[in-house]
């Protein structure tokens, strides 16, 4: 079975591609970025998912399944172009899947879809609407991409489409939203708040994506690993020092004074939890994670 992976040169893209290869899938990949040390077995095409060369890959290689990981966050991509990458990229992906006979599509989305607020419940289920795009506009295009991808469920019911909302990944690659936040030796937290953070080992996240493919999932599924842990506990377990900063100073000093470059809306994500219920995914795939909360943090902490 031939699987095409968009965004294959990203951290999760690479791990997923290698895992697919190990499971005996034939893997081809599209990315704007290179992946110099990619195994020879993987056919790589350096192209933008929105452009014609990417469509050519679908046309020429006729993959049986495709995994869309070519979405970017505000952390990776600061320009307004991010919105176009996320929305037009997702549109092109779905279009090509339909046009070139792809039978299965997986959209690797994020659990931040649900947003963080003082009154949001723990353990969001897939039917809950996104609540905080107005306070965190930098997230809006990812929320829209998620909803757009889900529209393939009714527009092209013949394609088994799985929209995955995966919690933060963490692991030895030291890539990803949570890893970037934990980069330095001192990690600023919003004083008086300590939200639960839901995270999964990056290897387990890749396994979940492969598992969605293997089970031909059709629908929207939250994906999580071990139970969530308070942010301050993660910071300490990662060998970092937690520096509580009053919210007013945090807002003023974002991007300066050693505080991370975060949009104002991101501060809510440091105050309130986003925790998901992934029971439906577990039931559908019998998926179970390999790395528990402590092992996951340790793999990040001890990586070189």
């Amino acid at each position: 079975m031939k699987v095409l992976v968009t965004g294959i040169s990203g951290m999760l893209g690479r791990i997923t591609a290698l895992k697919l290869l190990k499971h005996g899938y034939e893997v081809i990949g599209i990315d704007r970025r290179p992946w110099p040390e990619a195994p020879e077995a993987i056919a790589l095409f350096q192209a933008d998912i929105r452009k014609r060369p990417a469509e050519d890959v679908f046309r020429t290689h006729r993959p049986d399944a495709a995994i869309h990981m070519a979405t970017v966050t505000h952390l990776v991509h600061k320009s307004p172009d991010r919105m176009r990458v996320n929305l037009y990229g997702t549109r092109a992906f779905i279009h090509h899947c339909h046009q070139y006979g792809v039978k299965q599509a997986v959209f690797a989305g994020r659990h931040t879809f649900y947003g963080a607020a003082a009154d949001s419940p723990l353990y969001h289920t897939e039917d809950e609407p996104p609540i905080s795009t107005h306070t965190f506009p930098e997230l809006a295009d990812l929320v829209a991409a998620d909803l757009y991808a889900a529209s393939a469920l009714w527009r092209y019911p013949g394609i088994a489409t799985a929209v995955l909302r995966i919690v933060y990944t963490l692991g030895p690659s030291k890539h990803g939203t949570l890893a970037s936040f934990l980069k330095g030796p001192n990690v600023p937290l919003v004083m008086g708040f300590d939200p639960l953070f839901h995270f999964i080992h990056e290897d387990d996240a890749a396994t979940a994506i492969v598992s969605a493919l293997a089970h031909k999932l059709h629908g929207i599924y939250n994906v999580s690993g071990p139970t969530p842990v308070p942010l301050s506990t993660i910071v300490r377990a990662a060998g970092r020092r937690a520096i509580p900063v009053p919210e007013s100073i945090f807002k003023l000093g974002v991007g300066r004074l050693g505080l991370p470059h975060l949009p104002a809306g991101a501060i809510d994500h440091l105050k309130y939890p986003i925790v998901v219920d992934s029971e439906a995914f577990r039931r559908a795939t019998r998926y179970s994670y390999e790395f528990d909360e402590r092992e996951t943090i340790n793999s990040f902490r001890t990586a070189r």
């Binding site: 003082a118 419940p121 723990l122 708040f193 969530p228 105050k271 909360e293 402590r294």
Partner: protein, 278 residues
């Protein structure tokens, strides 16, 4: 947060260990309850519960010792001391101890410190999804159907009841959870409010700022009466018409009214414990 600031009382620690909760490798349960934070906080709170205040608890055996349930009672006093005392009785007096999840007002989680404390002790913003999930996980919920209207009662009305919301009843029907009514008496004496400043409250992000007889928002040491009634179960789906649900709510409200009346009579020493009908 409470690192090394508060000493842990070994007796409290033993009670926290006895709670029916699953802690992960970091000592945190799936809902974010931190075992160590809970021990430290409850150790300090135990002093307030036992010595600063004094709570005469009756009928605590009426609270199921395992499985789902909703504690439903009245607010009495300008801030929710009643809620704290119910928590205290369940954690420090009940055998085995239980940790109720109070459905608290949204504004509390908007305050630094308060949010952290509430998150680590399992106290969430009242939300039907959250409450139903906790009940299905066989937890105990604490609800005050009077809401902020209830804490806003002035001292002279402390033992009265204002309008009840119906959310708790729909929740009980939907999740087939027993309701344990309780009456709480004495809050009006601990914190006699003579006025509530709503406009100042809006500025500060709270529903209102209560002004007490002595101006300050510091409760005086008080003896409270807390009476738990026999559990009530109702048949239904939670999707009944409003009138049907309201009549069930009325039955709970009547029971609570009766418990408050008896609590008041106990307080005035007009009856003794043997006379109680819970």
């Amino acid at each position: 947060m409470f690192d090394k600031l508060l000493p842990i009382d070994p007796e409290v620690a033993a009670r926290i260990e006895a709670l029916d909760l699953q802690f992960n490798k970091f000592g945190v349960d799936p809902y974010g309850i931190d075992k160590t934070d809970l021990k430290r906080f409850v150790s300090a709170f135990a002093w307030i519960y036992r010595f600063y205040f004094k709570v005469d608890v009756f009928g605590i055996k009426n609270v199921p010792s395992t499985g789902r349930g909703i504690l439903v009672g009245n607010h009495s006093g300008g801030v929710a001391i009643d809620g704290a005392m119910v928590m205290g009785s369940m954690l420090l007096d009940a055998e085995p101890p239980r940790l109720p999840h109070a459905m608290i007002d949204k504004f509390i989680h908007e305050f630094p410190g308060a949010s952290q404390l509430m998150s680590r002790t399992g106290q969430f913003t009242g939300n039907p999804d959250q409450a139903a999930r906790l009940l299905r996980a066989e937890r105990l919920i604490l609800a005050f159907p009077e809401g902020a209207r209830g804490t806003a009662k002035l001292a002279k009305d402390a033992d009265s009841l204002v309008g009840f919301g119906t959310g708790f009843m729909r929740l009980a029907l939907e999740t087939k959870s027993p309701i344990v009514p309780f009456g709480f008496v004495g809050g009006g004496d601990a914190l006699p409010t003579i006025a509530n400043l709503k406009r100042l409250g809006r500025l500060l992000g709270v529903p209102y700022v209560p002004i007490t007889k002595w101006g300050l928002l510091i409760p005086k040491p008080t003896r409270f009466q807390l009476l738990y009634g026999k559990p009530m179960t109702f048949e239904g789906t939670g999707h009944e018409r409003d009138e049907a649900v309201e009549s069930m709510v009325g039955q709970v409200k009547e029971r609570i009214r009766g418990l408050i009346r008896q609590g008041r009579q106990l307080r005035e020493k007009e009856i003794s414990e043997e006379d109680l009908v819970l």
